[in-house]
Amino acid sequence: MADRYIEPDTPELRARWGNFAWTPENAEKAKDVLSRYPEGRQRSAVMPLLDLAQRQVGAEENTQGWLPIPVMEYIASYLDMPIIRVVEVATFYTMYNIAPIGRFHVQVCGTTPCMLRGSDDLISACKKRGMKAGHISEDGLWSFTEVECMGNCASAPMVQINDDNYEDLTAERLDKVLDALAAGETPKAGTQEPGRHTVEPVGGPTTLRDMVTENHDYRGEW
């Protein structure tokens, strides 16, 4: 995991985000989130609210979104909880970005199954576009992180870009996805293998074949 550090608290940061407040739609959503928790346990809403705030920041600056210190303070006062407890949560979970981020956060899985299936090629494809861990590319489009297993081993290798996973990648397929994203299109999420729908076995089922068309009772064959 790359080193994550909170973006320092500067006067510029305060000037930019000091007035952060929910947009009307998000204020409604925040209220809805709060209502899911029992009276006196409102602090539990800190995680969905941090996510909501991150998305609002992202919408404002057209990036994936991140959590500047003043925004965390806003959440703390919104939930009437100590700010340090909010910071603890935000710094613990890697899905909260605590430093500025690009339009697309490319998270390439480099754990063993993906590595065996060619994640190294994906990483070098990303690097070719100027992606570097912990940096935003010059055009502001890309942030890059190499991550550990995302649980898509059956369709390795994979990358996660913002809210979507792209699986069964090769360097070329990844290039296509990234080009589409850069062009403002929405590429199909999930597996990029032609003919594959989700993570079903490539080339047809190899086990439980009798179950494909109808329910089959195997118990007598054990």
Binding site: M1, D9, P82, I84, R85, V87, F92
Partner: protein, 672 residues
Amino acid sequence: MPKVKVDGVEIEVPQGATVLQACELAGKEIPRFCYHERLSIAGNCRMCLVEVKPGPPKPQASCALPANEGQEIRTDSEMVKKAREGVMEFLLINHPLDCPICDQGGECDLQDQSVAYGRGGSRYDESKRAVTTKNMGPLIKTTMTRCIHCTRCVRFSEEIAGVDEIGAIYRGENMQITTYLEKAATHEMSANVIDLCPVGALTSRPYAFEARPWELKKTIGIDVSDAVGSNIRIDSRGREVLRVLPRVNDDVNEEWISDKARYQVDGLTKRRLDKPFLRKGGKLVAVSWQEAFSAIALLNPGNSIAAVAGDMLDCETMFAAKKLLGALGSSLLEGRQTGMDYDCSSLAAVNFNTGFNDIETADAILIVGSQVRTEAPLVNVRLRKAVKRGAKVFLIGPEWETTFGGEFLGEDLSVLNQLPQHVWDALLNAKRPAMIVGGAGLGRGGLEASLSIASQLKLVRELEDGSTWNGFNVLHLSAARMGGLMLGYAQRGGIADLVAAAPKVLLALGADEVDFTKFANSMVVYIGHHGDKGAHAADVVLPAAAYTEKNGTYVNTEGRVQFSDKAVFAPGDAREDWTILRAMADAFGVSVGFDTFEELRAAMAAVVPALGNEGLAGYGQDLPAGGGSASGVIAYPIKDFYLTNPIARASAVMQQCSAELLHGEEIAEAAE
């Protein structure tokens, strides 16, 4: 109560005990870092592993495992030994080998336990992690590379202090303990995390690189910075007090002390009066003791002499002064320097009757004119515990930031005359109702009105278990108050009676808060240890001993008599207070009836027997009926928590705290 077997010995343990507690009851030492009796259980250091049957065939963390009937616990097996060695090795992977330059050295849990339970060497030869030091203010020095993430400091600030300031940010190997944006810890108990820290990550900044623990002489003492009477250990080397640490006393301070109690001691070496002074031609001139006493002998006050006791005086000094005045035929004694004149005819009416321990069990508390957090931080801790158990708290007085919630009813004492209905109902329906009247609530009829409420609510009652509950409490601010009241340091009209008597000589015994302009025609003889307001106004200054420099008896606001020992000698020509008063008697040509400290103590115990016995003095449960009405806006007496007494005002550390923490000045930190 479950019966368990610890290393083959069967013992019975209380219901709800953990395996670790069971082992302790059986006399087995269990190494630990994160577990602490007064904090919640975290279970993250894994040092307390033991083998427990029945259960999975692996070592288990005993601090978080409930003791159950029939458990067989082994603390001496091969598995436990290996587990401890393994945990120790893991903990030391990222711990620097900087014991020679670490202030914790010699009193470090990690050091001790690695000697006792470690394997003697590490197999780790990669790079160690390094963490930047964090700013936690003028009192706490941090070296976070040494941190082992026990989270005791986090739990302390959240659970005990009630101020969430410290937290663990990031995760895994990158985890760091810090305050939010590295702001200084600002509550009144913050430095207790230094004692809690089992390693050298949080150490004392003022005491940094001063001494090793084995060089220090340890003396048992009583703190005088507030009226709680915290039990302290005074660590000194040579003639200097280097630091003060809390002693465990569950009835008084548990195991905490306030930052002021801990750090005012550097003021003991600054602005000290170390020579007698005489005012000659309007200026104070240093003289010898002989000259001073010949000047005093000429005063010849007869019975026109009065004495004012300061806030940090021991009972012996007050008693010696009382004897001196008595021999001269005067009884003009007063200890309430700022002019308070509440009725002291019943000591039970001006005492913290419930006791610090029992106030935790109160279920409805009305606080009148007390900013408990600054006036008695350790009582504030108790109130927080009471609220955690479900107590309702109502406060009368200007709003302050409580650490336990509570409802403010108004700033004026007149609220007492007609309490809001819901408050009245809450107190009336409570099983253990309590009132706490602070210094600001005593005057202007406040005490009488409070007593009247106390009798209407029957705050003194018999509980279901047959014990007596006295819910009426007065929370004083000065360490000398209850002792002074027991010795008769109270005039009906307060200090105004002394002014009215216009004494020829006024003995100011460490009294620095008196308005001396009202005594313009009296000769003021100041006997004290610091060159503060009292000495400035004095005509004769006689240098005396501070609380660390004399044996003394102190009575805290509960009426608890406690003895303090002498740690160091007073500087220069300064002498212990009682010897000065004894010599004064000679100068005035009267006899006070004691020549040694033992005789003085015996004489005091003969007059006020309670002062001879350690423990609660016991003023009975009979409260005066009170009555009348109170009015006036409450103004809390403590404006600056860090500078309430002459020692603290002389202390550079306290001045820095006041400047940085209360007045928000820029951090004056030298480049390291």
